[in-house]
Symmetry: C2
Subunit: 450 residues, 2 copies
């Protein structure tokens, strides 16, 4: 065996990912040393309770509650505790002590990223976070390095495995949201409290990280528009399928031109998370189960897609260990860390100023003149109609009054729009709802991906 | 504008990719400086004929025939000439002069990679080659860095756009190889001499690069088994579709256990390029047109896929510029370059020792006992049958003798095997061909991807 320089690696947290990382650091020690050009000595694991029962057979003496002592003696600190504190304080301590940091903490980076990257810059250290944006899928290095000479125009990411699992099963089986969610919870694909996933909070954190990297701009989490999937029912999924679409929870990060943003170049960005219709032939449509994928459109490179497991202890551990090897190589090579590139500093526009295409589904009375009224309201609202489909449900299904008595049935109007401004669309839908001819606004969904 | 340190960038070659790189270096200069943390001054472009007509409006004074003088004064040298010489000599000169090198030259790296990487190591410089393996698709950094803490088990790559375009159109349209090739040549998807693409030489070079990275082993080009797609006819494609498969030219790089390889761990690798059947539901099956994709199976990360444009001047320029920014960041950060990791040094086994599944299509006389004879030969040859399908073509279609005269028709046997060793399979097919009951071996295809 080569006699490598030894580096001291400290691990904070021993949950699903942390215990896998610790196991792999020990079982693959020789290979990792060859990859890194340095021996990676796991010197300790900071946990709240060293005596808690664990599934790994890691020696008891590795565990400690004294994270501070562990951190200040380390060359590389791996933070896998999650949450804001004490992760933030521990990472800042590690950086100020001269260690490089590897973290999978999306919540922390989405809220305190600039503070942490600034602290790293000041001491010439690096922060690695491949596992924070899309689990095992290598997306950070491609955005940060491979596409550094290109201009990313748009990212559309399926970055939450739980919601993709739920929507995919609803689409495949024609099941209802609540039933699939319950099943997902039973199978471990969803948490007992599924809010962070199904309401899009997790995807919004990841969108913040991806957009910050892609557009070289510190994007605050508050600037991300966020909608979840709890309003998506079986009927909406069926209608989407009928129209050649599939519904996915997307994180969309887009470079746009916005006169009101007052940026020097007129450029701005939009970052938003919502369930959207995408054409079934789009590469993202074939991302099934709990898998993730990030579709990137760049000015020169064209369309790229990165696909893989978005979560899971051992999968995420792969991304963490890749970062550990990178950190070790940097230690051996010398030189300062390359900081985050945030010099573009583009303004983030609110959702009202974003333009996209929409599909509006309305229930209206099947009476003469209704379509004309609806079309008039859309036109006044600067929403241009691309397609209209009307399906008339027989009145007999809606009431006990036989159709031949002259009572009209209920018609369903599915309107596809050309590109419209979100604020115009939203105001127009309000006017439709109040118009008297619309019984119910069934759904308003954005159309992405073509 | 920030007052950045200035780096001298020399470009060798001004073809389709080179002229795009030169244009983007100039038009995106401010943005590239912000990304790199350094001003990238294009100081010259070495070409054979500075006065040749070009599609760009680059100033005449940038062009020079004196590549040596240009190289020795540069901080970063971009080699986009292609071919072995003078590219090899120029790159070695650049490295010995202290420059970092960016190249898209797959032929050179596949044949002289170790020499070049050794030269870089000796001076602490870096060689970047994101554009050499799959055009615009970021695959080098994911393999080299993101998966450095994992163990890649297998790569299956669609790494040649021309052959994917041809096979995809044959599959979609039921056309013949020669017709689609002629059309591809007309549309610029194939060269006038298509040998490098359709015979798999281009894919074999890329396979060498991918396998070397993935398995930390210098894989010589001669060790790559290579077959092209010229033998794939319409009937074979139709039969594949009927059986639920699509045919793709795959570069397969696989970690295997091989007792005869005499490696310390029993581990070895296989690198091979051939047209293979893959299930239509596999993510690689939906890679259409001239697109590329690299499917990676890693021990911890699971299945990953990287998708995008595999060629094209501006797309490839994106990858080259990403490398230029990386090289610039390294110059600014200081420290030595991180060399290639080739310490695993695994043996590459010949194709005869590889195991995979096969689909064998035979024409046999439709007579009693034929299947029993065929099955017997397979069994003796240690090839285990998984599925058999027999289709009887009416004799009337095969000859002018009417079927009712008692002459047997010709039957087609499609045999799917379990995993078999390539040498056993090949010997068995020879025995089948000589058995007297087989009229013709129509095709023998490997089955990959499940």
């Amino acid at each position: 065996m080569t006699d490598y320089r030894r580096l001291r690696v400290a691990l904070l947290g021993a949950g699903a990912v942390g215990s896998q990382v610790a196991d792999l650091l020990r079982t693959h020690a020789d290979e990792l040393s060859d990859r890194a050009g340095a021996a990676l000595d796991l010197v300790g694991i900071a946990v709240r309770n060293p005596d808690a029962p664990r599934e790994t057979d890691l020696p008891r003496e590795l565990f400690t509650t004294d994270s501070e002592q562990l951190i200040v003696g380390a060359d590389i600190v791996i933070e896998l505790m999650g949450g804001i504190e004490p992760a933030r304080t521990d990472i800042l301590l590690a950086l100020s002590s001269g260690a490089d940091v590897v973290t999978a903490n999306k919540a922390l980076l989405a809220t305190h990223g600039p503070e942490i990257f600034d602290a790293a810059d000041q001491v010439g250290a690096s922060v690695y976070y491949e596992a924070a944006a899309a689990g095992a899928i290598p997306i950070i290095r491609p955005l940060r390095d491979s596409l550094a000479g290109d201009r990313v125009q748009r990212i559309m990411g399926i970055v939450n495995g739980t919601t993709n699992y739920i929507l995919d099963r609803m689409d495949a089986e024609g099941s209802e949201f609540a039933d699939v969610l319950a099943d997902a919870q039973r199978l471990g694909y969803a948490e007992a409290d599924p809010t962070a996933d199904v309401e899009g909070y997790d995807a919004a954190q990841k969108a913040t990280i991806l957009a910050s990297l892609a557009f070289h701009t510190a994007v605050p989490l508050e600037a991300v528009h966020r909608e979840g999937i709890t309003g998506i029912d079986r009927q909406t999924i069926d209608a989407a399928r009928h129209a050649g679409y599939v519904i996915k929870l997307l994180a969309v990060c887009e470079r746009i031109t916005d006169a009101e943003a007052h940026s020097p170049t007129g450029e701005a960005i939009s970052v938003r998370v919502y369930p959207a219709l995408i054409p079934r032939e789009h590469p993202l449509a074939s991302v099934h189960g709990a898998n993730n994928a990030v579709f990137v459109q760049a000015e020169a490179a064209g369309n790229l897609m990165f696909y893989g497991a978005g979560a899971g202890g051992v999968q995420t551990a792969s991304a963490v260990l890749g970062d550990v090897v990178s950190a070790a190589r940097r230690h051996i090579a010398g030189g300062v860390g390359v900081g985050e590139s945030t010099r573009a500093n583009l303004p983030v526009v609110p959702i009202g100023r974003v333009t996209t295409r929409y599909q509006i589904t309305l229930e209206v009375s099947d009476q003469p003149g209704v379509l004309a009224t609806v079309a008039g309201i859309l036109s006044e609202g600067r929403v241009s109609i691309a397609t209209v489909e009307q399906t008339i449900e027989p009145a007999a299904e809606q009431s006990l009054v036989p159709a031949e008595q002259g009572i009209a049935g209920i018609a369903r109007l599915v309107i596809g729009t050309h590109t419209a401004r979100e604020q115009d669309l939203s105001d127009t839908v309000d006017r439709l709802a109040a118009s008297g001819v619309v019984d119910r606004v069934v759904s308003v969904l954005r159309v992405e991906g073509n």
